[in-house]
Assembly symmetry: C2
Homo-oligomer: 219 residues x 2
DNA sequence: AAGCGCTTCAAACGATCGTTTGATGACGCT
DNA sequence: AGCGTCATCAAACGATCGTTTGAAGCGCTT
């Protein structure tokens, strides 16, 4: 599967967390099905039977990895994104977009969740229900509240819904199509330094779109 | 893998096209790796060795399926979407969005391409290079030409690029997140009847966003 | 009818994967 | 010291998959 990993030094770190770390990397890279227990255990430097012992089976490890990555992402980029108390709706939209992009595109542990969620959306497992209830739905409702305030009291729930989905779609594009952008349009792949510029674009683009739906607009 | 398909009647249809049809459905449903040759051949009602005989191996069948679906999609929704000759940029944007959504969300043969491309973007195979060169790049350049006209001569290439990506992202959202929408927000899953309304929303939203970037706007 | 490609077939091979087994220490308690 | 529990280990089991094999069926030309 993966190249012969030089067997990380068998430190005295707990086998459980070693499996969670290695599992997150391998599941994010290959997906649930293509990932092999042997590869994960090899990277973790533990015996193949450890998965059965600690997590019952491969699916149990997968669920635990998602829980692990989920909490790690929330610890790193908490829902209250260091936003001022009385921030305007525009500022809150920008903070939402920026933190969303950070969770989606940054390296490290949270990137596991972004990759795994992208896979879950195309090839769902039982874990998707949990992801929706504990991650996607609260986040999306936070966004719809902002959009509703920007769209004004006359906006229908359908318009608020579609506008919010437009915001999410613009952000997810850079995660879901990352490999295609890298191959076909490498000059426009967002870097860590260019992430703020990208967040500003999406915020500005979306603000205009949201306000256009407020009065009905043409087209 | 899949339920015991009642072995389609062994008509005298060519084994090749039977394999292409069954392969398209199975690859789109399970992905390249998870799809099994036995499943495909069972659905096609042909012998397991037919894949080796007609397409050399599983990867050869996969490439042929993509070619097949690609041509089928272009036949059904050709690049010139029945648009009037002197159509305005706004009308051309609407036609682009609508035909894009049709290719992404409609049932039938073209749906294979949408699902397979969604998988390719997350877990690329060698076929992705071909998809980019023959499908994604020409389509995207058609879009950037429209956006450039709408954004005006003062818009930078970066603005045109990002705005075009915003349009594509809004459309792809409903393909990539279809399973999540179906589970978490079933009331907003676009139907065939609601597709025109969705296309109008994305067009109106994007027109405002494109024009907002024309003068710089605030963030 | 005989011979010859082209295509299809059942059956098996070799490899890989998830999982299980039974033994082996490591450590704490009586 | 003796015992039991927890954790780990190498090795193998059973299942599945992609691929291969060699023969048989079919249509066509001569």
């Amino acid at each position: 599967m993966t190249l012969p990993t030089p067997q990380p030094p068998a430190t005295d770190a707990d086998t459980r967390v070693r499996l969670l770390d290695a599992g997150g990397a391998v599941f994010a890279e290959h997906g649930f099905r293509a990932a092999t227990v042997r590869d994960i255990c090899s990277r973790a430097g533990v015996n193949g039977a450890a998965v059965h012992y600690h997590f019952r089976d491969k699916a149990g490890l997968y669920r635990a990895v998602i829980e692990h990555a989920f909490h790690a992402a929330l610890d790193r980029y908490p829902p209250d994104l260091g936003l001022a108390a009385g921030a305007s709706a525009e500022e809150r939209l920008h903070a939402f977009v920026r933190s969303f992009l950070l969770r989606l595109l940054s390296d490290g542990v949270p990137a596991w969740l972004g990759k795994i969620m992208a896979r879950e959306m195309i090839e769902p497992t039982d874990a998707l229900e949990h992801i929706i209830a504990h991650s996607a739905r609260p986040l999306f409702e936070r966004l719809t509240a902002i959009v509703r305030e920007l769209a004004g009291p006359d906006a229908s729930v359908e318009h608020v819904m579609r506008a919010s989905q437009s915001v999410v779609g613009q952000c997810l594009f850079y995660r879901h199509c990352r490999e295609m952008i890298r191959r076909g349009w490498p000059e426009s792949e967002p870097t860590v330094e260019g992430l703020d510029e990208l967040a500003r674009h999406i915020t500005r683009f979306s603000l205009a779109g949201i306000r256009a739906t407020r009065v009905g607009g043409r087209a």
